[in-house]
C-alpha cells in the first residue's frame, strides 16, 4: 500500500468514525419504538434524491446513519445539483418507475407536483397506518412554513427540512463608523440607519459607492443578483423587488384567468412594475461589476468578500457570511433587517394583503410511485423529530419546528447572526413562498429571454415588460391555464 493510499484510507476511516460519532451523539427519545417499527422492514432500502445543500448534507451524513442505526432500514440519498435532482425526480415520478422513495421538493415546485398527484398524502397515510405514527412526531410542531406543503384538503404532502427568508444584510462596521456616519449626514442631512424605504436604500447605496470610489476602495453601495443569462436575476426581481413595490405573485392574477397584462387584469407590465424594475436596474448600475454575472451564490460571495455595504441575500447564506472566518471577511460585522419597501406597502403587508420577500425552503416528500411507502413514512417522520433539530440548525441555519427557537445554542447562534433567527420567528409571516402556480419554470423560461434583454439594455423597460406580460399570457394559454 502506498503512503498516499494509506493516508487516504486513514482520512476516510477518521471521517467515517467522526461521522458515526456525530450521529451517535444525538439522543433520540423512544429509541425502542424506532427499533420495533424498523424491524418490520428488514432488508428494505430507502432511496432518495436531493439538492446538495448544507441541510441535505446533514441528512445524508448524520440523520440517515442515525436512522439506519435505530431501525435497521438502509437509507441511500443522492445529493446532486438542483437541475439533476429535479430532472431525476420528475422522470421517476412521471414514468412511475419507483426508483425513489423520498424526493426533495423545493417550495416553488410543490405546486407542480401536487397538480400531477405525484406525492403521497402523508397526513392521510399516517391516519390509515396509526401503528406507523411515531412518538414525538406531530404536524403541530412545524412552523407555518409547513403550510406551503399542504394540499387543498389541508393535508401535509412533504416534511419541511429547510426554511430561510431572503433578508436585507448590511455591514455594521460601515454603518457604525463615525467618520462615515458624519459624511453621510453631511451629504444627506439624516442619520445613517438601515433603509426602510427604497428611497433611503438608494440614497445609502449611492453614498457608499461614491464614498469608496473617492477613497479608491473596492466597496460598493449594494449587491445585485442580476445575472444576464441565469434565472437568478428573474427571481430577484419577482420575489424580492416587485413585492416591496406592492406587486405580488409575479404580477399574474390567478383570479382573472391568469392574466399578466394590465389590459386583462394582471400587473406584470403595470406602471408600478415598470417603476420597480427601473429602480432595481439603477441599483444594479452602482453595484459591483460582477453583479451582471451574479446568481444567489455570487451575491453572497460578494457580500462575504466585503465588497458591498448592503444587499438582499438569501438566508441560507447568512450564517456562513456572519460566522465562518474561512469564507467571509465580514464576520462579526453583519446586521440583519427587513427589506426596504415603498411607502404604504408595509401597511398592506401587515394587513395580510401582501408580502415583503421570499420565504424559501424545501421538504422531503414521498412519491406515489415509491415501492416503500411505509418505510419512507418512518424516515419522513424521523426528519421532523425535535431531538434532531438543534444540531441540524447549528449545522445549517434552518428552522422548521417552533421548538427549535427555544434552544440555548440556537439562540447563541442567533446573536452571532445578527438576529436572523429572531427575524424569521417574529417577522416570518411577512414573507411568503413562491406563488401557488404549477407552471413556474414554464412561464419563467418563456419570458426570460426578454427579461435578459432588458438587463442588457437591448430592450427598454416599458417595452420589455409589455412583451413579457404578453408572452406570459401566451405561454399560459398554450399550457391550458388561461382560457381566453
Amino acid at each position: 500500500m502506498t503512503i498516499s493510499l494509506k493516508a487516504g484510507a486513514s482520512a476516510l476511516a477518521l471521517a467515517l468514525a467522526a461521522q458515526g460519532a456525530f450521529a451517535q451523539d444525538i439522543q433520540i427519545e423512544n429509541a425502542d419504538w424506532w427499533q420495533e417499527a424498523g424491524a418490520k422492514f428488514d432488508g428494505v432500502t430507502i432511496r432518495g434524491v436531493t439538492e446538495s445543500t448544507p441541510p441535505s448534507n446533514f441528512v445524508t451524513d448524520v440523520i440517515a446513519p442515525k436512522f439506519e442505526e435505530l431501525t435497521g432500514i438502509r437509507v441511500e440519498i443522492e445529493t446532486t445539483s438542483w437541475d439533476q435532482m429535479y430532472d431525476k425526480a420528475i422522470k421517476d415520478m412521471e414514468a412511475g418507475t419507483g426508483i425513489y422513495d423520498v424526493v426533495y421538493i423545493e417550495q416553488d415546485i410543490v405546486y407542480s407536483y401536487l397538480s400531477r398527484d405525484f406525492l403521497v398524502d402523508m397526513t392521510a397515510a399516517l391516519e390509515e397506518n396509526s401503528d406507523l405514527q411515531a412518538p414525538g412526531y406531530s404536524e403541530d410542531n412545524f412552523t407555518t412554513f409547513a403550510d406551503y406543503f399542504r394540499g387543498e384538503n389541508g393535508d401535509l404532502f412533504g416534511v419541511p427540512m429547510e426554511a430561510f427568508i431572503k433578508i436585507y444584510l448590511y455591514r455594521t462596521d460601515l454603518f457604525d463608523d463615525e467618520e462615515i456616519r458624519a459624511a453621510f449626514q453631511e451629504q444627506t442631512g439624516r442619520e445613517l440607519e438601515p433603509a426602510k424605504t427604497h428611497e433611503e436604500y438608494a440614497e445609502i447605496a449611492e453614498f457608499f459607492t461614491q464614498y469608496f470610489q473617492e477613497q479608491g476602495e473596492d466597496i460598493w453601495g449594494t449587491t445585485a443578483q442580476a445575472h444576464t443569462g441565469h434565472p437568478a436575476s428573474w427571481y430577484e426581481y419577482v420575489e424580492s423587488i416587485l413585492p416591496t413595490f406592492g406587486v405580488y405573485n409575479w404580477g399574474i392574477n390567478a383570479d382573472e384567468d391568469y392574466a399578466a397584462t394590465v389590459e386583462h387584469g394582471g400587473e406584470m407590465n403595470s406602471d408600478t412594475a415598470k417603476e420597480a424594475l427601473t429602480w432595481w436596474l439603477s441599483m444594479r448600475d452602482i453595484a459591483p461589476p460582477e453583479s451582471v454575472q451574479s446568481t444567489w451564490t455570487e451575491v453572497a460571495t460578494t457580500f462575504a468578500a466585503g465588497r458591498a455595504a448592503q444587499g438582499l441575500v438569501y438566508g441560507e447564506n447568512a450564517a456562513w457570511i456572519a460566522s465562518d472566518e474561512n469564507q467571509s471577511r465580514v464576520v462579526g460585522n453583519v446586521g440583519v433587517a427587513l427589506p426596504p419597501v415603498e411607502d404604504g406597502v408595509m401597511e398592506e403587508i401587515e394587513a395580510g394583503n401582501g408580502y415583503i420577500g421570499y420565504y424559501d425552503g424545501g421538504a422531503f416528500g414521498i412519491p406515489v410511485s415509491s415501492n416503500n411507502h411505509e418505510a419512507a413514512l418512518l424516515f419522513a417522520q424521523f426528519l421532523a423529530l425535535p431531538d434532531l433539530q438543534e444540531e441540524w440548525a447549528l449545522a445549517a441555519p434552518r428552522i422548521t419546528l417552533t421548538s427549535t427557537y427555544d434552544s440555548e445554542r440556537v439562540q447563541q447562534l442567533d446573536e452571532d447572526l445578527g438576529g436572523y433567527f429572531s427575524m424569521m420567528r417574529d417577522d416570518g409571516a411577512l414573507f411568503q413562498g413562491a406563488p401557488p402556480y404549477p407552471f413556474h419554470a414554464q412561464v419563467r423560461e418563456a419570458v426570460a429571454p426578454i427579461f435578459y434583454s432588458i438587463l442588457t439594455g437591448s430592450t427598454g423597460v416599458d417595452e420589455g415588460l409589455d412583451q413579457m406580460a404578453e408572452r406570459a399570457e401566451q405561454e399560459l394559454t398554450n399550457l391550458g391555464y388561461r382560457t381566453n
Binding site: 437541475d83 429535479y86 430532472d87 420528475i90 412521471e94 407542480s112 397538480s115 400531477r116 473596492d218 445575472h227 444576464t228 443569462g229 441565469h230 434565472p231 459591483p288 461589476p289 460582477e290 453583479s291 451582471v292 454575472q293 455570487e298 465588497r307 404549477p438 407552471f439 419554470a441 414554464q442 419563467r444 423560461e445 418563456a446 426570460a448 429571454p449 435578459y452 434583454s453 438587463l455 442588457t456 437591448s458 398554450n478 399550457l479 391550458g480 391555464y481
Partner: protein, 291 residues
C-alpha cells in the same frame, strides 16, 4: 463463414447496447417531435400534433437567433482550431527544448470535463476576481465584462472552445503528418519547390482526409455545445451565447417542453448532416472526380 459468425457473435453485445441506448432513444425523440407534451400543462398527456412543432420553429425568433449565433460560433471556433491545430502540429514535428513538457501541457485541456472548463473560464473572466479582466484592464485599459457585453461574451466562448479542443486537432494532424511518406517531399525539393508550394500541392492534399475528419468531429461537437457555455454565461448576456444546445436544454429541462424541444433536436441533427454533406461535396467530391 465461421469467422463471419464469430464476428457477429462478438459484435452482438455492442449492437444490443447501441440499439437500446442509441437507436431506441433516437426514435423516441423523433416520435416526440411530432407531439405536444408538457407534463405541467393542464392536459399533461402526449398529443399528436403533426408537423406543428416544425412549423412553429420557422417563426420562432428565439430559435432563429440561437441558430444564427450557433453557426457563427461554429465557424469561428472550428476555423481557428484547425488553423491553430495545424500550426502547432507542424511545430511539434520539429525538435525544440522542452517539447515533451509543452506537448503534455498543451494536451491537458482535452482531459477536462466541459463543465470544469466552463467553471475555470468563469473564474478567469469574472470582473474583480478574474485574471483576464484584471490584465486586460491593467495593460490595455479594456473593461471586460462578459455579463454585459454580447461581443465579449461571444468571443470568450469561442476562445474557451479553441482552448479546450485545439489539442484534439493538433494530435490528429500530428498523426497525419507523421504518416506522410518522405518521397514526394524529397522530389519536390529536388524540383526546386518552395515551402509554400510544398504546403499547397503536397502537404495539404495529403492530409486533407485527416483535416476533414477533424473538421467533421469538431463541427458536430460545436453545433451541440452546451455545458461549457451554460456554466460560463448561461446563454447570456441576453441571448448572445444562447447556442442551440443551450436553447434545447432550456426548452427541455426547465420548461419541460418535451415535444417542441425534441423537434429542435431533430432539426439540429438534420442541420449537422447537411453542413457535413456540404463540406464533403465541396471539398472531397471534386477531388475524387478529378482523380
Amino acid at each position: 463463414m465461421q469467422s463471419n459468425k464469430l464476428g457477429w457473435f462478438l459484435l452482438a453485445p455492442t449492437l444490443v447496447v447501441l440499439f437500446f441506448f442509441g437507436v431506441v432513444p433516437f426514435l423516441y425523440v423523433v416520435w416526440l417531435a411530432f407531439h405536444q407534451w408538457n407534463p405541467f400543462a393542464v392536459d399533461p398527456t402526449i398529443i399528436y400534433n403533426g408537423a406543428e412543432n416544425f412549423r412553429r420553429l420557422v417563426f420562432d425568433q428565439a430559435f432563429l437567433s440561437s441558430l444564427g449565433v450557433t453557426l457563427a460560433f461554429t465557424f469561428f471556433a472550428v476555423t481557428t482550431q484547425v488553423i491553430l491545430g495545424y500550426v502547432l502540429a507542424q511545430a511539434f514535428m520539429r525538435d525544440f527544448p522542452g517539447k515533451a513538457i509543452f506537448r503534455t501541457i498543451h494536451t491537458l485541456p482535452l482531459i477536462m470535463a466541459p463543465i470544469i472548463v466552463g467553471s475555470i473560464w468563469k473564474l478567469m473572466t469574472t470582473p474583480s476576481i478574474g485574471i483576464i479582466p484584471h490584465y486586460l484592464d491593467q495593460w490595455f485599459g479594456y473593461d471586460l465584462n462578459i455579463g454585459q457585453s454580447a461581443i465579449a461574451a461571444f468571443t470568450i466562448t469561442v476562445i474557451m472552445d479553441v482552448w479546450h479542443w485545439t489539442p484534439l486537432v493538433t494530435l490528429t494532424l500530428i498523426a497525419a503528418l507523421v504518416s506522410l511518406p518522405p518521397d514526394p517531399f524529397e522530389q519536390a525539393q529536388i524540383d526546386g519547390a518552395n515551402r509554400r508550394q510544398i504546403f499547397w500541392h503536397i502537404t495539404l492534399p495529403m492530409i486533407s482526409p485527416a483535416i476533414l475528419a477533424t473538421v467533421f468531429i469538431r463541427l458536430m461537437d460545436a453545433l451541440r455545445t452546451v455545458d461549457e457555455v451554460l456554466m460560463l454565461t448561461g446563454g447570456g448576456p441576453g441571448s448572445a451565447t444562447r447556442y442551440l444546445g443551450v436553447h434545447i436544454f432550456r426548452e427541455v429541462f426547465p420548461r419541460t417542453n418535451y415535444g417542441y424541444g425534441s423537434a429542435v433536436s431533430v432539426i439540429v441533427l438534420y442541420l449537422t448532416i447537411v453542413v457535413c454533406w456540404l463540406l464533403f461535396v465541396g471539398l472531397i467530391a471534386p477531388r475524387n472526380k478529378k482523380a
